[in-house]
């Protein structure tokens, strides 16, 4: 098996990006789309082939999955101790991502052929989509934490350009800016964290950082700061970067606004791949999180995840914009993955949470991408994002209806769909380690089922409004990806994930805890039944309910005023009291000094102009006297 082929996996999307980016005026719609799809097809086939043969064929040696450095080269060589390397690491974690990222990206590439048809900037869209795919693949294949940071910023940039794709729309521009600034702020934490970590560990390399003996030596020699080891602080700061990308509370505020981007982008970046980068990062460094100071950093991960999952689910209950409901649902589900990592232990069965988190990442990517693409098809048909404008669409959009239902069942954790299996493992792991977190997850499972079926019934049942244009089913390019993803959402739960992914890289066996599973299915069904009661037929039950809850409903509907809080802190406090004095200092003192230096530079330049007289004899004199004077100065220096 020639693993060198893997170098093509990130390089093909890069080549497509450069091609489309440089010749974006020459390559017209739909050719650019075909180029993008063709590139992604090759990438996907290579990735699937490598990932599957890794798991089934060559990866497992003596009961343990190998960490294979496929390729590594020095990118910048500062000194022999400090150099930045680029490379490709193949292990179960990256192999799982090699299935998720290319598959979803491939589907989105195909889907966009139909969705983006006739929109301006078609080629630009595909160029950025390829850039994103390149960056994301580079991220998941990284061999060291610095490489991951570089690609981390690259996915941020491509996400920024795609959120602001409709750059003539003011809200899109603002949303792009917001996403960039918030995640960038979080990445500052990441950068500081990784610098602290590499300073104390003396390496960027993942293989060294996750080596258990190495972690023990780090533990032994750690410096403490405010009661905690600096390594713990570094990990918490790194997690801050992950929380920014993965929209964890309180850095989540950009994700709902990011829905201003085209829907396929939301499916790819803001549901299935980029937003789980934070989970991936924590999973990558999991042995550190677990073993450094008995997992204090990991506890932070667990509680942030648990809080976010509840917080987002509550908000999702009340939103009307279907993409925003899905956005909050994404937040909530990523919270699930985080809390699963947070409650995980290390070792075979102890590491159940870790495995469950990756499993949920996998299944969630499938059904959430499906939900978003389905939402795209619906928006495509009714030209509105709001569920008030919808209803009775099951007759008009049969394929979308069925696939959406499959996804909704999957996310609600109804067997035998994919979400049931992964969610069950998460709840089982949480139950073993922390009952409070388990209970949060349990309640959220019910809420998830409720808001998803609220969405489903409100879109596809409710009433039959008069549509101005009769909604029609999306073209084949859009429905085929829906069907493929629906297949995955329905059946990918049967993959025996614990045979492939585990904390200590050796397969173990899991079984379904029927008691716990029964309870969570029960609460899911309860949620669905409530949704049936509220939303199957048009009625005013939900409005009466909202009125009954009054203030609480209003708070929830306005997302607990977190955005307003941020505005208050940044505008009223930071800008006014900190930035304004700095700006004055900058304008008057710094600029004044600089202008002074600039003017004196010009003045000197004016004064010495005469030296360059244009006479060769002068030049000769300067030459010889210069040499003599230098000799004399050196002689003088030597004697002192």
């Amino acid at each position: 098996m020639n693993l060198n082929l893997m170098i093509l996996i990130p390089l093909i999307p890069l080549a497509v990006f450069l091609l489309l980016g440089i010749f974006f005026r020459r390559i017209k719609e739909p050719v650019s789309g075909y180029i993008g799809v063709a590139g992604l097809t090759i990438v996907s086939l290579i990735s699937f082939y490598i990932a599957i043969s890794y798991f089934l064929d060559f990866g497992l040696v003596n009961g343990e999955y190998q960490k294979i450095i496929v390729f590594r080269s020095t990118w910048i060589h500062f000194t022999d101790n400090l150099k930045i390397e680029m490379g490709i690491l193949l292990d179960p974690l990256s192999a799982v991502m090699l299935i998720v990222v290319p598959l979803i990206s491939w589907m989105v590439h195909i889907y966009s052929l139909g969705y983006m048809k006739g929109e301006g900037g078609f080629t630009r869209f595909y160029a950025f989509l390829s850039l994103f795919t390149f960056s994301m693949l580079g991220l998941v294949l990284s061999v060291n934490i610095f490489q991951i940071y570089i690609f981390w910023e690259l996915v941020g940039v491509s996400s920024y350009s795609l959120i602001g794709f409709y750059y003539k729309k003011k809200s899109a521009v603002l949303a792009a800016k917001k996403a960039f600034i918030v995640t960038r702020f979080a990445d500052l934490g990441f950068l500081i964290g990784l610098l602290i970590l590499s300073y104390f560990a003396g390496t960027f390399d993942f293989l060294t950082l996750t080596n258990l003996d190495f972690i023990q030596t780090l533990n032994g020699q750690a410096v403490t700061f405010m009661g905690l080891s600096v390594i713990t602080w570094a990990l918490i700061l790194i997690f801050m970067g992950g929380a920014g990308k993965s929209a964890m509370f309180p850095l989540h505020i950009w994700l709902p606004d990011a829905m201003e981007g085209p829907t396929p982008v939301s499916a790819l970046i803001h549901a299935a791949t980029m937003v789980v980068a934070g989970v991936f990062l924590v999973a990558r460094l999991f042995p550190m999180f677990y073993f450094i100071e008995d997992g204090i950093a990991l506890e932070v991960v667990a509680y942030v995840g648990a809080f976010t999952t509840l917080f987002a689910a509550v908000i999702a209950l009340t939103q009307y914009d279907i993409k925003r409901v899905l956005a909050f649902s994404t937040m909530s589900q990523i919270g699930y993955m985080m809390l699963a990592l947070g409650v995980s232990g290390y070792g075979e069965h102890e590491g159940l949470g870790y495995m469950a988190s990756m499993f949920h990442l996998f299944t969630h990517a499938m059904f959430k991408a499906l939900l978003f693409l389905g939402a795209g098809a619906i928006i495509h048909a009714v030209h509105s994002n709001f569920m008030q404008d919808m209803g009775g669409l099951r007759k008009h959009l049969p394929v979308t209806h069925i696939t959406f239902l499959v996804a909704a069942l999957a996310i609600s954790g109804i067997p035998p769909f994919a979400g049931f299996f992964s969610k069950d493992e998460i709840l089982a792991a949480a139950f073993e380690h922390n009952k409070l977190i388990w209970f949060t997850g349990f309640i959220v499972a019910g809420m998830t089922a409720f808001y998803m079926f609220r969405l489903y019934f409100r879109i596809f049942w409710w009433n039959d409004p008069e549509y101005k244009h009769k909604p029609h089913e999306a073209p084949k390019t859009m429905t085929v990806p829906l069907m493929i993803l629906a297949f995955m959402a329905a059946f990918s739960g049967f993959i025996p994930f614990s045979d492939f992914v585990s904390t200590d890289y050796s397969p173990f066996h899991t079984h379904i805890e029927w008691g716990l599973a029964g309870a969570s299915v029960g609460i899911g069904v309860l949620g669905i039944l409530l949704a049936v009661l509220f939303y199957k037929k048009e009625n005013d039950l939900s409005d009466r309910f909202a009125r009954a809850f009054g203030i609480f409903y209003k708070w929830t509907f306005n997302k607990f005023y977190i955005d307003e809080l941020y505005f208050f802190i940044t505008k009223k406090i930071i800008f006014k009291n900190i930035s304004a004095p700095f700006a004055w200092f900058d304008r008057h003192i710094v600029d004044g000094t600089m202008n002074g230096i600039g003017n004196s530079t010009v003045w000197i330049s004016e004064k010495i102009k005469g030296l360059q007289s244009g006479r060769v004899q002068d030049y000769a004199m300067y030459f010889v006297s210069g040499a003599t004077v230098i000799s004399m100065i050196l002689w003088f220096l030597l004697n002192n």
Partner: protein
């Protein structure tokens, strides 16, 4: 001479053959345009031929030495000269009516390159001196190539007179060092030198001969006048190829021959670095003529190069070679654009460039990339070049010098951006009209653009240079 020896010298031998073939072609071929093509083809062959396998060793009892680094450096120079040949072809094609002898131009140019080859591979001061002379004399003739242009003649006279003085002082320096050390071999000199005023003077005099070619302050005065008057292709050659060759041999001299005097010459290099950066920048600030402007900018760049000499180790060598490779492309790009514009419109002033982007976007982009690379703005290659120079100086604790260099980068940024602003932001009543350059110019600018974008990010290139930068066993 057996085959092995021939292979050792193959770049020099092949270039000699190229020169002879050009002589024959000059007699046989009367079509001037065809001569351009022959020269390009022959030199392309020479460039490709240089990349064949490397031989290390010495000839003529150690007078001529070659290793991986000299081979690689000659290849870098070859690529630079190839780009200049392309631009020269463009220049010669345009002025066919005034120019009688097209073939001569190339013969003289290649002869000068041959001189630089010998200079680089010199193991003995005699060869070094001969190479130095062979490299500068023909180029003085080329400076006078535009016989119909008085400025060209003035440039040639200034160059040949300055060169005469410098080579006299250089030779005097060698004589003194010989008297002290008793050997003319580059390798033998180290350790045999005494630390007297006598040998210090020899060292400084010899250094000043090379500093003249690199245009370090105070040996730089000829630079601006010559660059302004000489044909642009010749200025281009002087500013990159001739300078790079001299820097290379300076590194060898300082690091190998004069290594025992390092505690003395480091003061000299320190002072001259600071002086060169400031003087180059202060003069560049006020220039209107782009060729003069680039002359002073190239003086300032030389200051950055000498900064890395202070590290006296492998990192210093590799960072200098790497910077030179990038600098060659950046400067050839900038001069190429000036040449392209001047050939079509005759304009060479910064003010004339106002509104260039609207009429000629591609040329403006190349200009911008080249100037950004000279200024050292990421992600263009020049940034990485400068970055390693800083690293080299900082690795030996010269933080103050690095700070001064950063201040100078800021100053240089100001004047590079003046040109970019003129081309991109300023509007003009009468901008330079749209023009189409010929295929030669386009090819050379295209190669420059690709190189500037790729070289910095393509790390194996620097790694390779670092691996072979073992001129001394550090």
């Amino acid at each position: 001479m057996n085959w092995n020896q021939i292979f050792l010298m193959r770049q020099e031998l092949f270039l000699t053959i190229v020169i002879l073939l050009m002589l024959i072609a000059d007699i046989l071929v009367s079509d001037k345009k065809a001569l351009n093509k022959i020269a390009i083809a022959l030199f392309a062959l020479q460039t490709v031929f240089g990349f064949f396998s490397v031989y290390e060793g010495s000839l003529f009892g150690g007078m001529y030495v070659t290793d991986s680094l000299t081979f690689a450096f000659k290849n870098i120079l070859n690529i630079g000269v190839f780009l200049i040949v392309l631009q020269s072809a463009s220049f010669l094609d345009k002025n066919l009516s005034e120019i009688k002898k097209v073939g001569e131009f190339y013969i003289i140019l290649f002869s000068s390159l041959l001189g630089i080859y010998f200079m680089i591979s010199a193991g003995h001061f005699l060869i070094l001196y001969l190479g130095l002379e062979l490299s500068i004399l023909p180029i003085s003739a080329l400076a006078a190539y535009e016989l119909y242009n008085r400025k060209s003649s003035e440039a040639a006279i200034k160059l040949i007179l300055s060169a005469a003085i410098s080579s006299g002082v250089f030779l005097f320096g060698i004589t003194i060092l010989y008297a002290d050390a008793g050997s003319l071999y580059l390798k033998d000199m180290n350790g045999n030198l005494s630390l007297t005023y006598f040998s210090i003077m020899g060292m400084v005099f010899m250094f000043s001969g090379l500093a003249f070619k690199i245009s370090l302050v105070p040996f730089h005065f000829w630079t601006a006048d010559v660059y302004e008057g000489a044909p642009t292709a010749v200025s281009n050659y002087l500013s990159v190829i001739s300078k790079a060759g001299a820097v290379f041999i300076l590194v060898v001299l300082l690091f190998v021959s004069l290594r025992s005097m390092v505690d003395i010459w480091k003061y000299m290099i320190y002072g001259i670095t600071v002086l060169t950066m400031f003087v180059g920048n202060f003069f560049a600030l006020r220039q209107q003529n782009l060729k003069r402007f680039l002359a002073f900018s190239s003086i300032a760049q030389a200051g950055f190069i000498t900064m890395a000499l202070l590290s006296v180790d492998r990192l210093g060598v590799s960072s200098i070679i790497y910077f030179l490779a990038i600098y060659i492309f950046s400067n050839i790009g900038a001069f190429g654009v000036v040449e392209a514009v001047a050939l079509k419109t005759g304009k060479e002033n910064i003010d004339d460039y106002k509104g260039l982007y609207r009429t000629n976007p591609m040329v403006s982009l190349v200009l911008m990339l080249s100037l950004f690379s000279l200024a050292g703005i990421p992600p263009v290659a020049g940034f990485f070049g400068k970055f390693f120079l800083y690293t080299a100086a900082a690795s030996k604790g010269y933080y103050a010098l690095v700070f001064i260099a950063v201040v100078n980068v800021t100053i240089s940024l100001y004047y590079y951006l003046i040109v970019v602003r003129a081309a991109f932001l300023r509007k003009s009543e009468k901008p330079i009209p749209y023009f189409k350059s010929d295929i030669y110019m386009k090819t050379s600018l295209f190669i420059v653009t690709i190189a500037l974008l790729v070289m910095g990010l393509f790390s194996p290139f620097y790694e390779y240079i670092y691996d072979i930068s073992n001129i001394v066993n550090f």
